[in-house]
């Protein structure tokens, strides 16, 4: 491989296959240290640069895979929402943007909700896909969070939300703003039931997402180097007409200013979450919690049930097998 791989191959790839199926021999350039990283190495390393430790964004199902026991989880089907309620059109129709995002990611919208076992303890996870219109929050994202919260209540399980979002989905206008209140109601119900509500802030978490459910966690965890804030850095720079301080709106900066409890590297995230849930629920997680990404393997019927007690039947949330990623 040489420099050509990075600069020419990816472009060709784009036309041939969706980005997810990049061949194992591709090199990627780290946006932080500019070093070339072998794609397969990067995946194995949970998309953390092997040279500088920079945490790159992670596809949502890779995220779920790294969190649940044996990489097993069940996704729930989400209720339909008002699609394109404003019939919004900027330079392109919102309806088209939605279709493109769906084709690009294989998702219906920007959040996937899964449930399964973590350290043998049941948990519900709602995770964002940044590649779906910047993880922006419209009615479907609101619906996903409401469904995740309802599922957590039904299963009496902790709710873990992992945002990666630029904020509100402008194309849904005021209805996207209303999702701030809507998601707040959803997570409030979880906390009022005495169930843990944990937020893992990943790059980026900004705007209306930060200013609602993302900042309401019982415990707030951030991934290293993630941009987390309300206003965009450019807007702030224009307002104050000064250069922004070093590390502004990064996880470590937020921790210094008392806005998050801990900054946890991705390799330790699963273990830390399991430990936290165990402590909050007065339970002992199973001992085989490992920090490194779990091995991929084909799922069996037994695996679907996993170490967790059978899921209660959820009447209006038709659970279906996670389609995860096909084996390569």
């Amino acid at each position: 491989m040489n420099w050509l791989t990075n600069f020419v191959r990816p472009k060709i790839q784009k036309f041939r296959k969706p980005a997810k199926e990049v061949p194992d021999n591709l090199w990627m350039q780290c946006p932080k240290c500019s070093e070339m990283v072998f794609h397969r190495e990067l995946e194995k390393n949970l998309r953390v640069c092997t040279h500088c430790g920079h945490h790159m964004r992670m596809p949502v199902r890779d995220r779920l895979r790294m969190l649940f026991d044996n990489a097993q989880w069940t996704e729930i089907e989400l209720q339909p929402v008002a699609v394109d309620p404003l019939k919004f059109k900027d330079r392109k129709r919102y309806a088209e943007r939605l279709k493109d995002a769906q084709a690009k990611t294989g998702l219906l919208d920007a959040v996937v909700v899964g449930h399964g076992a973590m350290g043998g303890l049941g948990a519900v996870v709602a995770a964002f896909e940044f590649d779906f219109m910047g993880g922006s929050m419209g009615a479907a994202v609101g619906e996903a969070l409401v469904a995740a919260a309802e599922l957590a209540l039904l299963q009496e399980a902790p709710l873990i939300v992992i945002p990666s979002s630029g904020g509100a989905r402008m194309q849904e206008g005021i209805l996207s703003l209303m999702q701030m209140a809507r998601t707040t109601v959803a997570v409030t119900k979880v906390r009022e039931r005495g169930l843990p509500y944990i937020v893992v802030l990943t790059d980026p978490t900004t705007g209306g997402v930060t200013a609602s459910f993302a900042m309401l966690g019982d415990v707030a965890i951030a991934e290293p180097g993630a941009v987390i804030g309300f206003a965009g850095a450019r807007v702030i720079e224009q307002t104050i007409r000064e250069k922004l301080p070093e590390g502004f709106q990064r996880s470590e900066y937020l921790m210094q200013h008392g806005m998050v409890d801990m900054v946890v590297p991705r390799h330790e995230l699963r273990a830390r979450l399991v430990q936290l849930i165990g402590l909050l629920l007065h339970k002992n997680p199973s001992a085989d919690v490992i920090n490194m990404p779990p091995q991929r393997r084909k799922r069996t019927e037994r695996d679907k049930v996993g170490a967790q007690p059978p899921d209660p039947t959820v009447p209006d949330l038709d659970p279906y097998e996670s389609d995860g990623e096909t084996e390569k």
Partner: protein, 317 residues
């Protein structure tokens, strides 16, 4: 008076009227008739202009510098107003004004975002852009009201929460989130009224009410038309187009079932006859308040939460 672009012909007519009145003072000859004729035209022009304001024109009316602001409403509607200050953590933020008072004899907590009227007051109130301490103050006042069973009235008029380094450092996002959470937690009636500009998260922080009302020419949006244009159109000059696409007028929001009612403004906008708008606001709030105070606190909270929980569910066209 400050005139908006689309009001220029009206401004000219009113200029003429003023000139004529000046003449009539000195001469007194048959001027009255001409004044009355011109006044009829002004009314007619205003009526037709304001009957079909475009979303972009409404944006300008909503931001009109002469429009009554929060403190004007407090002065007009609240007796025995007792301002309360501070978030008890960091500072007093004058972008958020609030306190106890009597509304038609009843104890209320009134909280609003104040833009300021002239250079001095605009600076004092930071142009209505609150910092975390402002939202934390609002939260504190709402909780105080909740404790004593006092209904809360919120008035919204802001371009948005303040975007600054200090605001971010002190947790602007968290402060807004907690403020929304508190709105949704109250066991007392919460009535919110958008009196001018309802700018994004900084607005909904105070507007997750049992009843959300808007003045006829107020706007309420997830992002300013200018901001939306520069992001989605990559061209700030497309603000007019963005204003239309965003559906940010009171009439649009009522159709989308996001708000519960519209308070009519006098001809030519609230700034032309503030007393008329105070009176309409007083009657509307009173009507809603009389209904809400009869509802049990738990129900008030549950209904408020359910209302927002439904927003965006399928069924809207």
């Amino acid at each position: 008076m400050h005139f908006l672009d689309f009001e220029k012909p009206i401004a000219e007519l009113e200029g003429k009227i003023a000139e004529l009145r000046h003449l009539s003072d000195s001469d007194g000859v048959n001027i009255a008739e001409e004044v009355s004729r011109l006044q009829t035209r002004v009314d007619k022009d205003l009526r037709s202009a304001y009957a079909k304001l475009t979303p972009w024109q409404k944006t300008q009316v909503a931001r009109h510098p002469d429009r009554p602001h929060t403190l004007d409403y407090i002065k007009a509607l609240i007796d025995d107003f007792m301002p309360l200050a501070g978030d008890r953590t960091f500072a007093e933020d004058a972008a958020v004004v609030g306190g106890l008072g009597r509304f038609k004899g009843r104890s209320v907590m009134i909280i609003g975002l104040e833009k300021g009227r002239d250079t001095e007051t605009r600076l004092r109130h930071n142009f209505g852009m609150a910092k975390p301490e402002g939202y934390r103050k609002a939260k504190r006042l709402m909780e105080l009201a909740d404790k004593f069973g006092i209904p809360v009235i919120t008035l919204v008029d802001t371009a948005g929460a303040y975007p600054g380094v200090d605001a971010e450092e002190r947790g602007q996002a968290e402060a807004i989130a907690r403020c929304v959470e508190t709105c949704l937690d109250l066991r007392v009636p919460l009535i919110s009224l958008i009196i001018g500009e309802g700018g994004s998260g900084g607005a909904i922080a105070l507007a997750a009410g049992n009843v959300v009302l808007m003045l006829e020419h107020a706007i309420y949006s997830v992002i300013s038309p200018e901001g939306c244009a520069s992001i989605l159109w990559r061209d700030g000059d497309q603000a007019k187009t963005a204003a239309e696409a965003l559906k940010l007028t009171a009439q649009d929001l009522e159709r989308l079932a996001v708000i519960d009612g519209i308070v009519a403004e006098p001809l030519g906008g609230a700034h032309r006859a503030p007393e008329a708008v105070y009176s309409a606001v007083r009657d509307t709030i009173d009507m809603h308040l009389n209904q809400l105070v009869r509802i049990d606190g738990g129900q008030l909270r549950a209904r408020r939460r359910d209302k927002f929980l439904q927003m965006g569910r399928a069924g809207l066209e």
